[in-house]
C-alpha cells in the first residue's frame, strides 16, 4: 500500500508582524499582542508558519450603550456604566486587548471634548495592562480632534487608532506617526480599495508594520459570504507576495452580530430560534469562526461567553502550529 501524499502549497509572501502595546519608551502595558506573520492560509500549519495566534478583543464603550441587545446589557450589568471597570472585567473574561470606542464625543451622543476623551483613555489604560484599540466617534472633524489629542497624550503606548478611512486618513496617520501608534485602515469590502488605502498610508511613510486592515464585515446571514471572499482574496494576494495586502486583518464581529434581529429579539420569534442568550452568542461565534477561517487576525467581540468559546476553539485550531 502506498501512502497518499497530501499536496502542500508553498507561498512566497508573508503577512507582516504587527505588535500592539508597548511596555517601554512611554508604554505602560504589562502585555503586548503580536499578530500576523502567516506564511500559509489560516490554520494550515502543514503548509507554512502561523507564528501568532489570532487575538480576541472586547469592545468597551465610553458611555452606557442605549441601543445594545438586552442580552449584552444583562451580561455586563453595571459595568457598562464605567469603561474602566468594563475593561477590567473583559480582561478577566479572557480578552487579549480592549477596543475602546469614544462614542460620547460624537456630536449626536454628548459631544464630549477631546480632554474628556483623554481622561477616559487614561482611566482605561490604568485599569488594564493589555494593549488598547481606540476608535474615534466616527465623524471626520471630531475624529481628527479627539484622536489627535489621545494620540499625543498616550505617546509610546502603541495604541491602534481607528477608523482610518480614505477620506480622513491623513490626520489619523499623522497622529499615529508622530506618537508611535498604529492605525486601523477600514475600507468598504473590496480588495482594491483595501490595497489602495494601504498604499496611501504607506505613502505618508507610516511603516506598514503599524497598519491593521479592517476589510469591513457583515454578520452571519447579512453578507458574511461577501466579506469571506474578499478577505480570502486579500490573504491570497498577501501570500502570493503583494506587499500592499500583507497587513493583519481586524474584524468588528460583535458590533455586526449583535445588531441583527437574531442577536436582539427575545420575544415574538419562532420557537425554533431558541433562547436569545444562547442564540446571540452562537451568532457572534459563528460569524467569528467563519472569518477566522478567512484570515482574521483580531476579532472584536461583545459577549464574554463568546470570548471563552473562541479561546477554546483557537487552542484547538492552533495545536499544531
Amino acid at each position: 500500500m502506498t501512502a497518499v501524499e497530501i499536496p502542500v502549497e508553498k507561498w512566497s509572501g508573508t503577512v507582516r508582524d504587527v505588535t500592539l502595546g508597548s511596555s517601554y519608551g512611554g508604554g505602560t502595558r504589562t502585555s503586548t499582542v503580536t499578530v500576523g506573520g502567516e506564511t500559509a492560509l489560516p490554520f494550515l500549519d502543514f503548509e507554512g508558519a502561523l507564528p501568532h495566534r489570532p487575538a480576541l478583543a472586547v469592545e468597551v464603550v465610553d458611555m452606557e450603550p442605549a441601543d445594545w441587545s438586552p442580552e449584552l446589557v444583562a451580561v455586563w450589568g453595571d459595568d457598562l456604566k464605567d469603561p474602566a471597570k468594563w475593561a477590567a472585567r473583559a480582561v478577566a473574561e479572557g480578552a487579549d486587548l480592549i477596543a475602546l470606542k469614544l462614542r460620547s464625543c460624537h456630536p449626536d451622543f454628548g459631544d464630549r471634548s477631546a480632554t474628556d476623551a483623554r481622561a477616559t483613555v487614561d482611566r482605561v489604560l490604568a485599569a488594564v495592562g493589555v494593549p488598547l484599540i481606540v476608535y474615534g466617534p466616527g465623524t471626520a472633524d471630531k475624529d481628527n480632534d479627539v484622536l489627535v489629542a489621545v494620540a499625543e497624550a498616550t505617546k509610546g503606548e502603541q495604541l491602534a487608532l481607528g477608523l482610518c478611512e480614505e477620506k480622513n486618513y491623513r490626520t489619523i496617520v499623522a497622529a499615529a506617526l508622530g506618537n508611535g501608534h498604529l492605525v486601523i485602515a477600514q475600507t468598504p469590502i473590496d480588495v482594491n480599495l483595501a490595497k489602495q488605502l494601504n498604499i496611501l498610508i504607506s505613502d505618508m511613510r507610516l511603516p506598514l508594520e503599524r497598519v491593521l486592515m479592517d476589510p469591513n464585515t457583515g454578520a452571519l446571514g447579512y453578507g458574511l459570504e461577501y466579506t469571506y471572499s474578499v478577505m480570502e482574496r486579500l490573504r491570497l494576494a498577501a501570500l502570493m507576495g503583494d506587499a500592499m495586502t500583507q497587513q493583519p486583518m481586524i474584524c468588528t464581529i460583535g458590533e455586526e452580530a449583535w445588531r441583527q434581529k437574531e442577536g436582539r429579539a427575545a420575544t415574538d420569534v419562532p420557537a425554533a430560534w431558541g433562547e436569545l442568550a444562547e442564540r446571540g452568542v452562537a451568532w457572534e461565534v459563528t460569524t467569528a469562526m467563519t472569518l477566522l477561517e478567512a484570515g482574521a487576525d483580531i476579532l472584536v467581540l461583545r459577549h464574554p461567553s463568546s470570548v471563552g468559546v473562541l479561546r477554546e476553539a483557537l487552542d484547538d485550531l492552533m495545536k499544531g502550529a
Partner: protein
Amino acid sequence: MSDGSATKARTAMAAITFTPSGETIEVPAGTSLLDAAILCELDVAAPCAGQGRCGRCRVRVTAGEVERRSNAGLETAEILDGWAVACQTYVTGAVEIEVPERRRETVRPHGHAVAEPESLPLGCDWRQNPAVRTFELDIEPPSLGDNTSDFDRLRRALAQQHGVEEVRSELPMLRRLGKDLRMANWKVSVTLEMRDWVYGTYLPPRLIRIYPAAFNHASMGVAIDLGTTSVVAYLLDFATGRVVDSASAYNKQIACGEDVISRIIYAKRRRGLERLQNLAVETINDLLDELQKRNGIELYEIHEVTVAGNTTMTHLLLGLDPQYLRAEPYIPTLSASPKLEARELGLSANMLARVHIMPSVGSYVGGDITAGVISSGMFATDKLTLFIDIGTNGEMVLGNKDWLLACACSAGPAFEGGGVAYGMRASSGAIEDVFISDDTWEPTFRTVGDAPAVGICGSGLIDLLGELFVTGLLDKSGHLDLEAPTARVRVRDGVPEYVVCRAGEGGADHDIALTESDISSLIRAKAAIYAGFEVLCRSVGVDLADVEEILIGGAFGQYINIEKAIRIGLLPDQPVERFKFLGNTSAQGAYAALLCVNIRHEVLDVAAKMTYLELSADNSFMDEYTSALFLPHTDLTGFPSVVAALQKRGDGADARQPIT
C-alpha cells in the same frame, strides 16, 4: 552719434536657419533658440514657458556652435546627436536648427483645414479596381434598319468601345435616357459605378450619369466621418484618387443631446427620430454644399458617398429606431449597410450615388471602429496590436490579421471637457498644456491659439491631473493636499480645488480651477478605459506588455501626450515607441473604402471577424475598474516608469510629510 548707439550697432548678430521650414532669422548673439523660434512663428512646445524645467522644447543643432546653459532631461547620446533644450540654449554664431515635427495643436476640427489622409491601407489598389469611372461614347444613331432600343444601344457601345459588359440602369436614369442621348447627338460621357457591391455580392456596372461628351464634368466622391460631436467630409476626385478638399462642422444633433445615450432618449420623443435624421442629413448637406461651392462642382458630380459613424449615428442617419441599442441585450437593427442611394437619404449628391455605410460590430462598436481598424492596417499585421479610439466611449480592438476582439467602455465626457467645472473642447483659449513647479506649486500653461485662458480641454486635464499628482499636491486616490503651502489649493463651497489660472492671469476674466469632483470624474474616465485594456487582454490570455503596437485613433487621440497619459494610468506603461497616433481613423477608413472597392470587402470581413466583448456581461470588468481607480493604478507593478518618476521627485514632495 552717441556712444550708446555706437555700442549697440557693434552687437554681434547670429544667423539661424530653421529646418525643415527653411525659415531664417538674424538675432543678437545670446538669444535663446526658443525666442528665435517664436520670432519665426515656429511651433516649439514650451509647457514651462521657457524656464528650463520641463525639457520639452527640444530642437536639434545640425550645424554651428551654441552655448548650452542646461541640458534638462536630455541623455548624453541625445546631446552628442545635437539635441538641445531650446529655452536653455543660446546662439553665438551662425547655426542650423532642426525643429522636430509636432502635430499642430491650434488647428481643431471646426474649419476646413483637415489634412489629407496620409496613406492608404494595404491592399488598396484603386487604379486596378476603381469604384467609379467615366467613359466617352460615340454611339451609332438608330435608324429604320437598326431599331435596337436606346439602352441596348448604349450597352452595345460600352461593350464594343470599352469592353464594359452587362451595364445596368435604374428607372430614373432610363426615364431621361432617350432625350439625353438625342440632345447630345449620340456623343456622350457616361459615369458608371463599376463594381456595385451590396451585401457582399458584386453586381454588374450601374449607370449613374449621362451627359454630352462635349462637356467636361468632374467625377467626385465624398467620405464622411459622422461623429457624435463633429462631422468631417473629404472630397475626393475619382480621376486622380486624391482628396481635393475637406470640411468639418459640429453635428447639428448636439442640440438634441451631447452624447449617444441622450440622443437615443431624444429619438423616443414624438418625431424625435425624424428630427435627428434630418439634422444628420442637414449637417452632411451643409458640408457637401460648402465643398461644392468652394470647388466649383455641381451636386450631380458627386457619384459616391461613404459614411463611417458609430452604431447610434448610423442608425439615426438611416432613421432606424435606436431604442434597442440602449436596452439589454443591446442589439442593433443591422450591422452591414443596406443598398442605399443618395436620394433615399436626401443627400446633396447625385441622386443615384450609392451611399455605403461602414458596417458595425455591436451596439457600441460601430462603423467608425471598423473603418479605423481598416485604416490602421491592424487587420493585416502579424503584430499583436491594440487599437484605441478615445472619446465619450472608449472603444478598443485587440488582435492582428488572424483575430480581432473589440469592446467599448463608457468613459463619460470628462476628457472632452464635459462634466468638468471648467472643462471645454479644444478651441481657442482652452488650456492644453500645463506644467506645475514642484518648488512653488505655481503652474505655467499654454492655451489653444495662445488666447486668454477660458477653460481646460482634454489634453490640459490630463496634464493637470498628472502634474498635481507628481508634484505631490494630489494623493493617489485623487485628494488634494489642503496643507500644502500654496494658495493655489483652496476650498470653495466645501470642495477642494487647485486654481490653475487666476482671473487676470494671461488675460483670463475668471478663475479657472480643477476641483476634487472633476478629478474624480477624470479618474473614473481613465479607469474605465484602462480596465477595458486589461479585460480585453486577459480574456485572450495575453499581458498588456505583450502588445507590440498601440495605435491611437480618434480626434482626441491626436492631442494626448503619451507620457502624461501613462502617468495618470490612462495608457499602459509601455515604451513610447510602441504608441502611434493615427489621427482621424474613422475618416481615413471611409476615404479608403470610397476609393477602393476591395476595401469595402475587407471592412465587411473585419466586421464579421471581430468578436464583440460585452463588458456589462463580464465579471472581471468591475474589479479591474476599481483597481484602476487610483493614480496611476492599484497595481503599481504595471507602471514601473511612474514609480521611478515618483521616487525621483519623491524627496521634494514628501518633505512636507511628518517623519518619525
